[in-house]
Structure formats: C-alpha cells, structure tokens
C-alpha cells in the first residue's frame, strides 16, 4: 500500500513537472503527455529492468514512446530516475538543448528510439523483439502508441508481422484517449472496435484503466498474456488528465494556456506559483 501511495505521488509530481516544463519551454503537447503518466510510472518504477547504468546493456528491457509528441512525460520520468541531470529539464525546447519537442535517441540517455512521426514505434520495437528472440535474450519490449496513431497503415503491417513471428516478448500499450489532433477519432476515422481489430491480427488483448497504476502493474507482471502471441494493453485514458479544462478537449492538443488558464492549472495540479 505504501508503495502504491509512493507511485501515485510520483505520478502527481510528474504531472506538475510536465506542465511546468512545457509552459516554461514555450510550447509542447500538454494533454498527450498527461495522458500517459501512469503508464510510464508503472513501467519505469516497477517493471522495466533498465537503469541509468544499464542503458547500453544488451539484456535491458526496451521502452519506445511511439507517440513521441508526449515526450515531456518521458523526459520528466527519465530525469527523476537519474538518466540525465534534472537541470536539463529547464532547457526544454531552447536552442542547444538535448530535449526537443520529440525525443532524440542520439542525444538523450535512456531514449531508445527517435520518434515524432507517428506509426514508427511498433515496427521498430518489433525489430528489437525479433533480435531478442534471435539472440536468446529474455528482455521485453514495450511500445506506447496513440489511438489516433493506429490510423497509420504501418502499425497494422507490424501488428501482422509480430503475430506471424510469435513475438511474445513484445507488449504494445495503446493510450486510448479517444482523441487525435483535431477532434475525436469517432468524428474523423473511427478505429473501434479496437480490441477486436487487434485480436483479429493475432494479439492477446487486455484492457485497463490507464490511470490506475496498480491495475497496470498487475497486468504488466503477468506478461506475456499468452505464450507465442504479442501482448497488448488497451489503456483507457483521459487526454489532458489532471487539468480540468484540457480534459477531453481537442483544441488543447498543441496550445499554450494563457496567464489565467495557467493559474487554474497550477492550482489543480498543486504547483506552487512563483
């Protein structure tokens, strides 16, 4: 129970961090970053075997943020765990920083793939999972994708391929917040029934409350869900979680709050005003 409280507090701290980094850096995808906080906390604090000391270890678990626009969430977690110095967070988006609006694996310790164009993380992660099997290693590969991202054809090409090659060391998590950039998926190109689609492509699907750390950890702990099949968690989430006026509002996808809005958000997230 103590541990769970600790992780819940972590998630809250990460949320505050995300909001401050993006507002001070002058631009970024706030709601998409807030959407995946608990998923990252569950993975990085409980599941992944990677530490700042093992970022080049061939046996480490791999985490790929395919929806790279949510990178600030990942930056906040990596900094908290010591993959790089926390002071780097203050340089986000600025000239000469290592922390841009999408993650760069050549610059940031602990980042496994340079993402930003949607639909690349799953094929890349599939390649890593395949190499793991070839080399008889027992690491796992985790890929977080957006639900809108699943509109890209490349996602389904990888889905079919990973199942064909029985990559049960691969686990994809869909951040199912039902929004994409402009609107809801339902108003643009619906992807439901999401679970049935993935199941039909040969994956084992579980659903979870994507903001419930315990539920996520419990699921991750039982991987693979089925021997010989890639695993998928459909994480039901709220885009913009934690900032009331951003929750489920497409307009906030890439917008910065004004002074008044910022005060409201600071208050809701529990950030001390300076």
């Amino acid at each position: 129970m103590d541990k769970m409280n600790h992780l819940i507090n972590k998630a809250e701290a990460i949320r505050r961090s995300i909001f401050k980094i993006i507002c001070e850096g002058g631009g970024g995808h706030i709601p998409a970053s807030l959407s995946i906080v608990e998923i990252l906390v569950a993975l990085y604090y409980e599941i992944l075997n990677v530490t700042p000391q093992t970022i080049s270890d061939p046996g480490r678990d791999r985490f790929i943020l395919s929806k790279g626009h949510a990178c600030v969430s990942l930056y906040a977690v990596l900094a908290d765990l010591g993959f790089f110095d926390k002071s780097e967070l203050d340089t986000f988006g600025r000239s000469g920083t290592i922390l841009g609006g999408h993650p760069d694996m050549l610059k940031i310790p602990g980042v496994e793939a340079s993402t930003g164009a949607l639909g690349h993380g799953l094929p890349f992660g599939t390649g890593i999972a395949m190499a793991g099997k070839m080399d008889n290693r027992d690491f796992k590969v985790f890929v977080v994708m957006g639900d809108g991202e699943c509109q890209e054809g490349s996602v389904w090409e990888a889905a079919m391929f990973a199942a064909a090659h029985r990559l049960d060391n691969l686990c994809a998590i869909i951040d199912h917040n039902r929004l994409q950039a402009m609107d809801t998926l339902d108003n643009i190109v619906p992807i439901s029934p999401l679970a049935d689609k993935w199941r039909a492509f040969g994956w084992h699907i579980m659903e979870a409350d994507g903001h419930n750390i315990k539920e996520l950890i419990d699921l991750f702990s039982t991987l693979p869900f089925q021997t010989g099949k890639p695993s998928m968690i459909i994480a039901n989430t709220i885009k913009g979680k934690g900032v009331s006026f951003m929750e489920n509002e497409p307009i906030w996808h890439y917008r910065m709050p004004n002074g008044q809005e910022m005060r409201v958000a600071y208050n809701e997230l529990g950030i001390e005003p300076q």
């Binding site: 850096g25 000239s95 999408h102």
Partner: protein, 307 residues
C-alpha cells in the same frame, strides 16, 4: 502563407465544384470557413498520409481536383510512393501541399522538418514544384496550381511569414523574379528564407557590394534563362535554401550553369548532408544552421573573393 493558401483554396472551391480540401488530422481551426461552406468537400483522412494520397489519385481519376494538405515532411516522405506511382506515373491532377517547409517547426525536431522535400519532389517525372516566399506569392501559386492540369507540389512555410511583395505583383510559373539588382554577385533563393537574403543584401550594399537577388519560386521547371543571364553578368553565384544543398535549389542552379558551360564562382548555402540541428526558435535555427543574414553575407563575400 498557410492562411493565404487556405483563403485561395476557399475561393477556388467557390468557382469550381471539383476542388476538394483533403487533410490528415492537421489544420484544425484554419479550415473552419471552408468546412462550413463546403462540408462535403472537406475530407479528413486521420493520421494516414499514404492513404490520403492514394485516395486523392483515385478521386482525380474521376475528375476531382484534390488539394492534399498536411505537414510537409510526412506528406512528401510517408506518402512518397503513392505520389510517385498513383499521382505522377498516372499523371493525376493532384495538388500536394506541404506545410512547415524547412525547419520552421524548429523545436519539434528533425522528424518535423522538411529539408529534402524539394529534392525528392523535383526528381519526380511530371511534377511541378513551387516554393513561395510569402503570402501573396502563396496565394498566386495556389490559383496557378489549379490551372495546371497535373501533379503539383507546393511547399509552404507556416502562418505569419512576412510579405516581400506589393499587392500588384505579377506571378508567372517558371519565371524567377529579380528582387534586387546588382553586378557583383547573384544570389538565388527560394521560400521564406528570402527575407534573410534580403537582409543580407542590405548589409552587403552597406559594404559596397551590389548583389542581384533572384527569387526562384518555381523550382521545377526552373528559369534557365534568368540563371544564365545572372551568372554571365556576375560570375559569382550563391544559392540560399532552407533545405539540403543536395538536390534542391542549389543543385538545380548548378545543373543549368554546368550544362551551359559557364565559368563562375559558386557556393551553395543550406544544409550540407545533415539534419537541421539545435531546437529553439526559428531564428535560433537559422543561426545554428548557417542560414542567418550574417552567414549569407560572409559566404557571399568569400564566394566573390574566390579565385
């Protein structure tokens, strides 16, 4: 530029019911007016650029005139084979409109920069390639694209690019524009980096160097006559592009010079085999990647002084 494009598209749609606006989960509010007026002719494909271009080609085969618009890097590269096979190989009347030319999406990083799009679009048989330098030109190019029967690529910067032309500016496809004249050097440029070149021109002038500045708004077909004329008069040629120097404006100008056997000092300014580095603001990016007015001044002087 984006607003100029969307306004022009709106006007085109009013006159021609074959004109369609295609997007891929990009450009939310800016299309509101279009969407309200022509709801059946605004199609959002979601995050699926390749499918958007494939469908556009099919629509065009039935006489529609689709303008497919999204972030230039995803549009030209994710959907490249669809552009090549479905649009160009079959000579379909599809307009491909990329937003975010060069590294104007500065801190979003290399995935969001379009710095080889001119090279790859120029290489496609039958493709006309436009690169407007500001809103007025973007507007004229959009109208012109509708008149052309065949594949067109338009490379737009973002909203709020500064204007370099007066309202009466006359645009002609394939004809470069002498923005400033001078005999000491010829600087060819394209797109929104033109404003930086004009600044450099002013600084050079203060130093007693008179450069001709030519805006190449049509990358393909390129204005051979104006290139030959400018090179013959100055014998010192500089190209400036917010793009790779491999395959873009600099290469296109070099091809004309070489094929016409004109001896000249020559320098391409742009990204030399690298992804644009640095993050920060657009101005920070220009500075870091050798495309500030100062860098252009320096390189121009070097080029003039070369033996």
């Amino acid at each position: 530029m984006r607003n100029a494009y969307i306004d022009a598209l709106y006007e085109l749609a009013g006159r021609d019911c074959r004109v369609l606006a295609l997007v891929a989960d990009n450009g939310a509010i800016v299309y509101d007016k279009f969407r309200a007026a022509y709801p059946g002719r605004f199609i959002n494909f979601g995050i699926a650029e390749a499918n958007m271009i494939g469908v556009a080609a099919g629509l065009a085969s039935c006489g529609k005139v689709p303008f497919a618009y999204t972030i230039a890097s995803f549009l030209t590269m994710r959907a490249f084979e669809q552009i090549r096979n479905d649009v160009c190989m079959q000579r379909m009347n599809v307009k491909i409109v990329g937003i975010g030319a060069g590294f104007v999406y500065s801190n979003l990083g290399a995935t969001h920069h379009a710095t080889i799009d001119m090279s790859i679009m120029r290489a496609l048989p039958g493709m006309t390639v436009f690169s407007p330098s500001g809103p007025i030109e973007a507007r004229k190019i959009t109208k012109e694209a509708a008149r052309i029967d065949g594949p067109v690529y338009i490379r737009l910067s973002v909203g709020g690019s500064p204007e370099i032309y007066e309202a009466g500016y006359e645009f002609e496809t394939g004809k470069g524009v002498i923005l400033r004249d001078g005999g000491d050097a010829a600087i060819f440029t394209t797109g929104s980096i033109t404003t930086e070149v004009l600044k450099a021109h002013g600084e050079l002038k203060n130093m007693g160097i008179n450069a001709r500045v030519v805006n190449i708004h049509t990358i393909k077909p390129i204005d051979k006559d104006l290139i030959i004329d400018s090179v013959s008069k100055t014998r010192a040629v500089i190209t400036v592009e917010e793009h790779s120097i491999i395959g873009g404006l600099g290469s296109a100008v070099a091809e004309v010079i070489a094929e016409n056997g004109i001896a000249a000092r020559f320098k391409r300014i742009g990204l030399n085999g690298v992804f644009a580095g640095g993050y920060g603001t657009y101005d920070d990016m220009k500075e870091r990647n050798g495309l500030s007015a100062n860098a252009i001044v320096r390189e121009t002087i070097d080029c003039i002084n070369k033996n």
